[in-house]
C-alpha cells in the first residue's frame, strides 16, 4: 500500500483529464486527426478504427509527442497545444507507444526503474512502485531478466509496466494486446478494469473483443473524425438493430460482418459512416 499525498486526493481543477476541441493533428503531410471533439474522464476508453484512421496519431498527440496543428488540447486542465507547461502534465502520463522501443541490455526492473526516474517520481516511492508495476503485468518472475531475453508478449507487458509505474492520471496504450496470448489478454483486461476507477485510460486497438470486454466507453474513429461514441453495449446494439445497411454479403445480423455482436456493430457503423461520407 502506498501513502497518498494531500495533493493526490485534493479535488482537481479540471472537469476532464482529456479535453479536445476541433483537434487537428498532422502525420507527415496528411491531417490524420481532423476536427475531433473529445472529453474523457476516468475509465477505460477503447479507441477503434481501421488502419490509417488516425488512432496512433491521436494517441501520440495525447502523449505530447506531436503538437496539434490547430484546435485546443487540454490535458489535466493544462493547454498543451502551445507545447508549454508540459513537464507537470508529463509526470502524470503513462504511454505505451505502438512501436515500443526499449534498452535491450537492461533488466525489466532496471528499465521500469529508469522510466520511473525519467518521470521524476519521488525517489522513496520508486522501488515499491516498480515492483508493483511489474507484479501487475505478471512479470514478477522475470523482473531480473534482460529485456532482450523476453518474448514478444512479455516485452509488451514490460511496456505496460513502464507506462503504469508512475500511477498516471492519463494512461495511453497503443495496441497493448499485440503479442499477448489469450490468457495474458484476460489478465490485461482485469488490469484495465482495476485502473478504470481513477485513471483515464485510452486504449487504441484493432481488437473489438478487447474493447467489448474491458472498456467502459468506446470510440470509433475514421479519417481522423469521431464516428461513434458509446458504451460497449451500444456497439452491440448497433448491429442488432441492423442500422440502415443493405444485405450485401449475407453475413450476420443485418448483413454486417463479424463473429460477435460487437464486431458486427463495429462493421455496421463503419459501413454506414463510409456510405454517408460517399454521398
Amino acid at each position: 500500500m502506498r501513502r497518498l499525498d494531500a495533493d493526490e486526493i485534493a479535488p482537481t481543477a479540471y472537469a476532464w483529464p482529456i479535453e479536445a476541441q476541433q483537434l487537428r493533428v498532422r502525420a507527415g503531410r496528411r491531417m490524420a486527426v481532423d476536427g475531433l471533439d473529445l472529453a474523457l474522464g476516468p475509465g477505460v476508453h477503447g479507441l477503434l478504427g481501421p488502419n490509417g484512421a488516425g488512432k496512433t496519431t491521436l494517441v501520440r498527440a495525447l502523449a505530447t509527442v506531436v503538437r496539434p496543428a490547430s484546435g485546443t488540447l487540454r490535458l489535466l486542465g493544462e493547454d498543451v497545444s502551445a507545447g508549454s507547461g508540459l513537464r507537470g502534465v508529463r509526470r502524470q502520463i503513462g504511454y505505451l507507444p505502438q512501436e515500443f522501443g526499449y534498452y535491450r541490455r537492461f533488466t525489466v526492473r532496471e528499465f521500469v526503474e529508469y522510466v520511473a526516474w525519467l518521470k521524476q517520481m519521488p525517489p522513496a516511492e520508486v522501488p515499491g512502485a516498480v515492483q508493483r508495476a511489474i507484479d501487475r503485468v505478471g512479470l514478477t518472475d522475470r523482473a531480473d531478466h534482460r529485456m532482450r531475453t523476453l518474448s514478444g508478449g512479455m516485452v509488451r507487458r514490460a511496456g505496460i509496466a513502464q507506462a503504469i509505474v508512475n500511477d498516471p492520471v492519463i494512461l495511453l496504450l497503443d495496441e497493448p494486446t499485440v503479442g499477448l496470448d489469450p490468457d495474458q489478454r484476460l489478465q490485461f483486461r482485469t488490469l484495465l478494469r482495476d485502473l478504470a476507477a481513477d485513471t483515464c485510460v485510452v486504449v487504441s486497438t484493432h481488437l473489438v473483443e478487447d474493447v467489448a470486454a474491458a472498456c467502459t466507453d468506446v470510440m470509433l474513429i475514421d479519417d481522423g473524425r469521431l464516428v461513434f461514441r458509446g458504451v460497449p453495449a451500444d456497439l452491440a446494439a448497433a448491429a442488432d438493430n441492423g442500422v440502415g445497411d443493405a444485405p450485401d454479403d449475407g453475413g450476420g445480423a443485418g448483413g454486417a460482418r463479424g463473429d460477435s455482436p460487437h464486431e458486427r456493430g463495429y462493421s455496421t457503423i463503419m459501413r454506414r459512416h463510409r456510405r454517408e461520407r460517399a454521398r
Binding site: V65, R90, I93, P97, G101, R105, E113, V115, W117
Partner: protein
C-alpha cells in the same frame, strides 16, 4: 535515486567497453615491467594511438542508443530534461574509463612493487593525463554521436581519430637537429618513442596536456548536454585551454622531456666499495654487486689508478655525457637487464667481462660517430683489454647480442690479442694502462694503435 540510475548505466551502457580501453596495457607493458612504472606511463601513451580513436567510437556508439533502441518516442513524453539523461550516461562512461584505466594501473603497479622494481609519482602523473585524454575522447564521441546519430558515425569517428593521432608522424619530418618537432606536437598525446625509462615529461608539459584534455572534455560535455545555439559555448573551453596549453608548452617538443630525478636517483650498496645503480634498475643491484667488486679488484691488481666505485652507465643524450661524469674513479656498468624482471640477464662471468671492456670505461661519445671500420677497430681494442685483464682467450668473448651492435671480427680480435701478448709482460700492462688513460680522457685517437704500440 540518480546514483542508482548511474549504477544501472554503468552496468548496462558502453561504460564497460570504455573500461576495457586500458586493458591492452596489460599485454603491452607486461614484458617491460622490470623497467619500472615509467614504462606504464609511456606504454599507455603508446596505446593511445589506438585507444583514443576507439574511445571516440565507444562514445558515439553509446550516443546512438536511444535511436537504436527506438526509445526516442517514449523519452519525449517524460518530464525529466534530456540533459539529465545525457549527464548520467556521460558519468557512466567517464567512470568506466577512469576505473578501468586505474584498475589496470594498480594491478601492474602491484606487480612492479612485488618484483621490487621502480615505481614513481611522475609515472602516476603521466598516466593520469593519459586517462584524461581517454575521458575527453569518450565524451567527444558522445557529443559527436549525439549531433550525428547515424550508423556510420562511430566507425567514421574512430577512423578519423586514428588519422588525427598519427597525423604528426605523417606530416612532420623525422625529428633531427635540423628539424626539431614543435612543442605543439604534444597536443596530440600519443607517445611514439623519444622518452626513455630515465626520462619523463616536464611538469609544465604535463600541465599543458592536462589543461588541453580537460578543455576538450568540458567542450564535449557542453556539446553533448546543451541544445540549440547554447552548443556554441563549447568553443570557449577549447579556446581557453588551447591558449593556456600553448603558453605552457616549450617551443620544441624535446624540451618537454627531462631526466626523471626519481628514476636516476642512485641506489647503492651500504658497504664499500660502493656499487650503485639508478632507481629504475634497482632489481639489478643484487646481481651486479659481486661481479662489480671482482672487476674493481682485477683492475686494482693489474693497473695503476684503478676506479674505486661502480655506477650505472646512463648516457644523458642531451648533455652528451654520462650521468656521473667521472670516468677516472668510476667504473661504469652498462646493465644487460631483462625487461620483465629488471634482473641481470647474463651469467656473472659475462657481466664481469662487460664491466672490463675498455679496461673499465664506457665508450667515449666520439665513438658513436665513427665510421664502421674505425668503430670496429675501436671496439676490438677495448675487447682485447678486457681479455687481457681476465686472462681469457678471444674465443671466450660472450656471443650474447646484448653487448654488440655487431660482433667484433674474430680474426682481427685474435690478431690484436696475439700481438699484445707477444710483448713483454710489463709492456702489456703499460699498453692497457695507456688505453685506459686515453679512454678516461676520451682524447681522440686510434685506440688499437695505442694498445698495440703501432701508432707512435
Amino acid at each position: 535515486m540518480t546514483s542508482r540510475i548511474v549504477r544501472i548505466e554503468i552496468r548496462r551502457s558502453a561504460a564497460r567497453w570504455a573500461g576495457l580501453l586500458s586493458l591492452p596495457l596489460l599485454l603491452f607493458a607486461f614484458g617491460d615491467l622490470g623497467r619500472g612504472s615509467g614504462v606504464l606511463a609511456t606504454g599507455h601513451r603508446q596505446t593511445l594511438v589506438l585507444f583514443v580513436p576507439l574511445a571516440l567510437g565507444v562514445g558515439a556508439w553509446q550516443a546512438r542508443r536511444d535511436r537504436r533502441s527506438r526509445m526516442e518516442e517514449l523519452l519525449i513524453t517524460t518530464p525529466r530534461p534530456a540533459w539529465h539523461r545525457h549527464t548520467v550516461t556521460a558519468a557512466a562512461l567517464v567512470a568506466g574509463v577512469v576505473v578501468g584505466a586505474w584498475l589496470v594501473y594498480a594491478l601492474l603497479t602491484g606487480y612492479i612493487t612485488a618484483i621490487g622494481a621502480f615505481t614513481s609519482f611522475t609515472g602516476v602523473a603521466v598516466f593520469g593525463v593519459s586517462t584524461l585524454f581517454l575521458v575527453a575522447a569518450v565524451l567527444l564521441g558522445l557529443a559527436v554521436g549525439r549531433l550525428a546519430p547515424w550508423v556510420v558515425t562511430p566507425p567514421l569517428l574512430t577512423l578519423g581519430g586514428f588519422v588525427l593521432m598519427i597525423l604528426p608522424e605523417a606530416v612532420l619530418p623525422v625529428e633531427s637537429e635540423a628539424h626539431p618537432l614543435p612543442g605543439t606536437r604534444l597536443l596530440i598525446p600519443a607517445e611514439t618513442g623519444g622518452v626513455s625509462r630515465f626520462e619523463t615529461l616536464t611538469g609544465s608539459a604535463l600541465a599543458a596536456q592536462a589543461t588541453w584534455a580537460a578543455g576538450l572534455a568540458v567542450a564535449a560535455l557542453v556539446l553533448a548536454l546543451a541544445s540549440g545555439y547554447r552548443r556554441l559555448a563549447a568553443a570557449a573551453p577549447v579556446a581557453v585551454s588551447l591558449a593556456v596549453a600553448a603558453s605552457l608548452l616549450p617551443a620544441q617538443a624535446r624540451d618537454a622531456v627531462v631526466l626523471d630525478p626519481s628514476a636516476i636517483a642512485a641506489v647503492c650498496t651500504d658497504d664499500a666499495p660502493r656499487i650503485c645503480v639508478t632507481a629504475v634498475q634497482r632489481p639489478a643491484l643484487a646481481d651486479l654487486r659481486d661481479p662489480a667488486r671482482d672487476a674493481l679488484r682485477i683492475l686494482a691488481s693489474k693497473l695503476p689508478q684503478a676506479p674505486t666505485s661502480v655506477s650505472e652507465a646512463v648516457l644523458d643524450t642531451r648533455a652528451g655525457q654520462y650521468l656521473t661524469p667521472d670516468r677516472a674513479t668510476v667504473l661504469y656498468a652498462d646493465l644487460p637487464t631483462t625487461a620483465r624482471t629488471g634482473r641481470i640477464a647474463v651469467p656473472a662471468e659475462d657481466l664481469l667481462f662487460g664491466l672490463l671492456i675498455g679496461a673499465g670505461t664506457p665508450p667515449c661519445p666520439f665513438a658513436f660517430d665513427l665510421p664502421r671500420a674505425q668503430r670496429a677497430a675501436y671496439d676490438t681494442a677495448r675487447v682485447v683489454a678486457a681479455l687481457w685483464l681476465l686472462d681469457r682467450p678471444p674465443s671466450s668473448v660472450p656471443r650474447d647480442p646484448y653487448w654488440w651492435w655487431w660482433l667484433p671480427d674474430d680474426a682481427a680480435l685474435t690478431a690484436a690479442y696475439d700481438a699484445l701478448l707477444a710483448r713483454p709482460a710489463d709492456e702489456q700492462r703499460a699498453r692497457v694502462a695507456a688505453l685506459r688513460a686515453a679512454e678516461v680522457t676520451c682524447v681522440a685517437g686510434d685506440r688499437l694503435a695505442t694498445l698495440l704500440g703501432t701508432g707512435e
